[in-house]
């Protein structure tokens, strides 16, 4: 709660457009990481489809605007529904065949590569490797000002912060409900969950679909803030970056992956090194953190601040 207030007031202190831009990217990628953790950290399914949900939605939002003439927001909703539809198909195939762990990761990776290759080669619609420059800006309604273009970093800061806050709220509600208990049952022992009357297929599909839909919303927003879309959105690199954010931030709390997103988004801008050297430093930090802090940054801090049990 305090953290939310602090983030809401932060632009009063930080006037640097550069710093705010990094924060906007962190919030949007934070949505991606937090929603991924619903599937990975809470339900125990290592999905490699998350970047695909993000990228497909970015393209779909744009295409809905350019081909169907919808507004950005309607386009975003349609894109999220498309991703929901695809999630149900991919999820049904994977979960009906009871693909787990490594096999689930590989099959979802194959589906996301399939999506990437379609986008890469469907030149007439997606402009192939070159991607698309997005010049339009979403419009929003502001009290007192009516409908205005979503322009300027400060407005994006608040829109993306609200997006992240809603993501945290939805995920927090889910994992602390009866449905979250079913997710935990699936992660820890799905065979036992099944004999206790939990429909394992249904709740895996629920976690997968909700997580992917949040990624879809993040994808639409991200592409329009960035001002372009390219097939790299759906790449394996992007999928692995999401996994890295979650491992770095931690899996044990709803907001923990956001810490990972923040660190991994900020770091490349703070450490000014040549591109190759930067990748090495960045990778080393990641490997070091994962080896030394398997619970992630959040888990390590939580372990430090937890008071030792009183000796009686």
């Amino acid at each position: 709660m305090l953290a939310a207030l602090a983030l809401a007031l932060l632009p009063l202190l930080i006037k640097s457009d550069f710093a705010l831009t990094i924060l906007v990217f962190s919030f949007l990628l934070g949505m991606l990481a937090v929603s991924f953790n619903l599937i990975f950290g809470y339900t125990g399914q290592l999905s490699m489809f998350h970047a695909a949900a993000f990228g497909i939605s970015a393209y779909a939002t744009h295409l809905s605007m350019s081909l169907l003439g919808t507004s950005f927001w309607i386009g975003l909703v349609l894109a999220a529904l498309l991703v929901l539809f695809l999630s149900v198909i991919v999820g049904t195939i994977c979960f009906r065949f009871r693909l787990k762990e490594f096999y689930f990761a590989v099959v979802t990776l194959a589906f996301s590569e399939m999506a990437r290759l379609i986008i890469l080669n469907w030149n007439s619609v997606t402009n192939g490797t070159l991607g698309i420059i997005l010049q339009e800006k979403p419009r929003i309604w502001l009290p007192g000002q009516g409908i205005v273009k979503l322009d300027g970093t400060l407005m994006w800061y608040y829109v993306s912060l609200i997006g992240l806050a809603l993501t945290l709220l939805v995920c927090w509600r889910l994992v602390n409900s009866w449905m979250g208990r079913s997710f935990a049952a699936i992660r820890l022992n799905d065979e036992l969950g099944d004999t206790l009357g939990i429909n394992v297929f249904r709740y895996k599909l629920a976690a997968f679909s909700v997580g992917n839909m949040i990624a879809a919303i993040a994808g639409g927003l991200y592409s329009f803030f960035l001002g372009s879309i390219e097939p790299g959105f759906l790449s394996i690199d992007q999928s692995l970056a999401i996994v890295a954010m979650v491992l770095l931030g931690g899996r044990g709390a709803v907001a923990a992956p956001f810490i990972g997103a923040l660190v991994l988004t900020t770091l490349p801008h703070v450490i000014h090194l040549g591109a190759e050297l930067r990748t090495i430093v960045y990778g080393s930090i990641l490997i070091f953190t994962i080896l030394v802090m398997p619970q992630g940054i959040y888990g390590s801090i939580a372990a430090l601040t937890r008071r030792p049990p009183h000796a009686i």
């Binding site: 509600r173 079913s182 935990a184 820890l188 036992l192 004999t195 206790l196 009357g197 939990i198 429909n199």
Partner: protein, 253 residues
Amino acid sequence: MLFEISGLTKRFDGLTAVSDVSFSIAQGDIVGIFGPNGSGKTTLLSLIAGMLTPSTGRIVWKGKEIQGHKPHDIAAAGVVKTFQNPQLFSELTVFEHLMIAGHLMLKRRLGWRRIATLFNTDTGQAGGDLEARAREVLRLCRLEGSRDQTAGVLSYGEEKMLGVAMALMCEPQLLLLDEPASGLGQSEIDSLEIVLRDLRAHGMTLCIIDHKVGFLGKLADRAISLHHGAKIAEGTPAEVLSNEHVIAAYLGR
């Protein structure tokens, strides 16, 4: 008849694990299934609970055929099984185990309305019922003292009792227990027996398998003996234990 199986057979490649087994269970009965190791007892229970699909034969629960149904559907219909080697959610506490196992309670009480509780912290009466039931089950299974311990630190006897407790959270009408006494010390077996008698007093129907005869002999109303997957005797425990085929099977002749 509450529960009836007929001609139930399960073949794995060349091996016939359960061979043409038929029997029935009446409301409120405690049925014991004996047999030496490898006689097909656990396979039989897994077939009933839906973890395996029978090769042939029928399983009828309250007049409906349930063979080949999914385990969660069978549990939802009121037939719940425990595991011989306790299956737990290792990092969670005893109470959290029971809350997970209360899934069917919420489903029965709220139906699709439980989706609405995702947006509204209040699960109302059903949530209260769930916690009350969890406390009652803890007391019934004598696990109150371990309520907030994680499953990893429990003794083997407590782990097995937690398995029974989770099954009870599902509000079963027929409880299938897979060797509940195996690996327990005498005092733990005694308290298990008290728990099971308590359940019978509450009107629950039980089907218990065990390879040890002593424990089940005292508890069961009826006994069935399996050998090499086939039923070789049925009757009161005393009748079955004095049956010459059963004696021969146990002595390995």
